[in-house]
């Protein structure tokens, strides 16, 4: 029996194609994934992401706890009202999950983790919490609605109550976060556009969803969520990394805070050893300049015949050509071959992101 979010009936009413997503039944699209993708790039769209789990970390040692558990350093946040993106590693340096951590108030952080990893993450955090004066709380009755696109801010201001209007004026940069009543509103997202992730009590979710819908916001499903994040060069857990792979081989070295050197986060020693021995693989972007679609698990062949694999692939509606992320042995190749349905096609290696704020960031060599 799959779980439903508070917005399930709304999705059904809006004729969503529902699919199984781990424990959940979620909307894949509401008619056309491409249409939803374009709506976010050009205007604004909304996503029900209530399947993700929020875990609150509260206590006098909350900072110390997260400095131990996370590869990025929460001390960078300096004051409440900010958030950052981090990996959580096992002692072998493998990625248990990638997540956002929001600094809400002194001694109070909120983690938002992937639905597919929620149970594992919670168990891991609890296992490591004994030595710290903190309380961990998985928030059960929370809904999360992501409002994303160049018109996200204007749209939110259009429908927000005076208290929320005021709170949102504090969100001047991306990764900022504020609280309004019992809502948490963050200027974060998974699309490469401006936008907000609104965490609110589940009982308020239907009202917000309907208000946004009446304001003309396009409902968007998991299909568009995936194509948008791929264009934005953002990693997806299970596809682009798992608990056997380090951030250094997943394009996520930038999320590891080495300084201060005394900060012994779990997995640090394994990463240091990996760096000393030299990295063997890296995550790169690929773009196909001919008709065809790069897809996960396709084999990539370097000029010297070594093999790699595509971890995430698909069609970029913004570029009208196929793009991918791939894990390849380290090389100086600029172009590689990909086996697509028994044919060999050439793809160009590029540095993600492919799209940022609606603009194409790479040269796709389109014919």
């Amino acid at each position: 029996m799959k779980r439903h979010t508070a917005l399930y009936q709304q999705h059904v009413k809006q004729h969503a194609k529902m699919v199984d997503f781990h424990d959940w039944q979620m909307p894949l699209h509401y008619g056309s994934q491409l249409h939803e993708h374009q709506a976010v790039r050009q205007r604004v769209g909304m996503f029900d992401v209530s399947h993700m789990l929020a875990i609150d970390v509260i206590g006098t040692q909350a900072t110390a706890f997260l400095q131990r558990l996370l590869a990025n350093d929460v001390a960078k946040l300096k004051q409440a009202g900010r958030s950052l993106y981090s990996c959580m590693l096992n002692p072998q340096g493998g990625i248990i999950d990638d997540l956002l951590v929001y600094f809400l108030a002194d001694d109070y952080y909120r983690l938002v983790v992937n639905a597919s990893r929620a149970a594992i993450d919670l168990a891991w955090l609890q296992q490591n919490a004994d030595a710290y004066a903190i309380e961990l709380t998985a928030i059960d009755d929370l809904a999360i609605i992501a409002l994303q696109g160049p018109q996200a801010l204007a749209t939110f201001k259009q429908i927000a109550n005076p208290q929320q209007q005021l709170a949102v004026t504090a969100l001047t940069t991306s990764f900022s976060v504020c609280r309004s009543d019992n809502w948490v509103i963050a200027r974060t997202g998974y699309t490469g556009e401006d936008g907000f992730e609104i965490m609110l009590p589940a009982i308020d979710a239907v009202n917000l969803w309907q208000t946004l819908s009446n304001a003309g916001v396009q409902a968007c499903g998991l299909g568009a969520r995936d194509s948008l994040r791929l264009e934005a060069g953002m990693a997806l857990y299970d596809n682009d990394m798992d608990d056997s792979i380090s951030p250094l081989e997943s394009g996520l070295a930038w999320t590891v805070a080495w300084q201060p050197s005394q900060r012994q986060f779990i997995g640090r020693q394994a990463l240091e050893k990996q760096q000393q021995q030299g990295l063997k693989q890296q995550l790169v972007g690929l773009v196909l300049n001919q008709r065809g679609v790069l897809r996960a698990q396709q084999t990539v062949i370097l000029n010297d015949q070594r093999h790699g694999v595509i971890t995430s692939g698909g069609f970029s509606p913004s570029m009208q050509q196929s793009i991918a992320l791939a894990r390849l042995p380290i090389s100086n190749d600029t172009h590689v071959n990909v086996i697509i349905r028994n044919k060999t096609l050439a793809a160009k290696i590029v540095k993600p992101p492919f799209i940022r704020h609606g603009k194409i960031m790479i040269d796709g060599e389109k014919n």
Binding site: S32, L34, G223, V293, R295
Partner: protein, 129 residues
């Protein structure tokens, strides 16, 4: 609710065929386009190509996966829907009309009658489900 026009014939692999004189127009059904999701590329066959029944005729790439479309009967390809090169979404929007894929001159037009009628095709997809 699947749209299954009564004047067409169907295959178990979700192609439809419309008879116009001694030619057949071929496409994929509403059920098929819905399963595939948004199409992004359609690779059409060569004009004058000879196809046997169940030969690969067209490759459709959707946001989800690539899929083969098969010739429902043996014949010669006489026309293809070039509009799909730039507008593959016509298959999703109007699969029995402007989303047609190609036209065949069948070797034996009587084979068209032997394809599934609309009721049989409906039963087929209900059994598949």
């Amino acid at each position: 609710m699947n749209n299954i026009p009564t004047d067409l014939r169907y295959t178990a692999s979700h192609e439809w065929a419309r008879r116009e004189g001694d030619e057949l127009i071929i496409g994929i059904t509403d059920h098929a386009q819905s399963l595939l999701g948004d199409l992004v590329f359609v690779e059409l066959p060569e004009i004058d190509g000879q196809l046997n029944r169940n030969d690969d005729a067209v490759v459709v790439e959707s946001v989800k996966a690539a899929s083969d479309v098969y010739a429902p009967v043996a014949g010669t390809v006489i026309e293809v829907n070039h509009a799909l090169t730039d507008s593959p979404q016509l298959v999703n929007q109007d699969c029995y009309g402007s989303g047609w894929l190609f036209k065949l001159r069948p070797d034996d037009i009587a084979e068209w009658d032997q394809l599934l009628d609309d009721d049989s095709y409906r039963q087929q997809i209900e059994t598949d489900a």
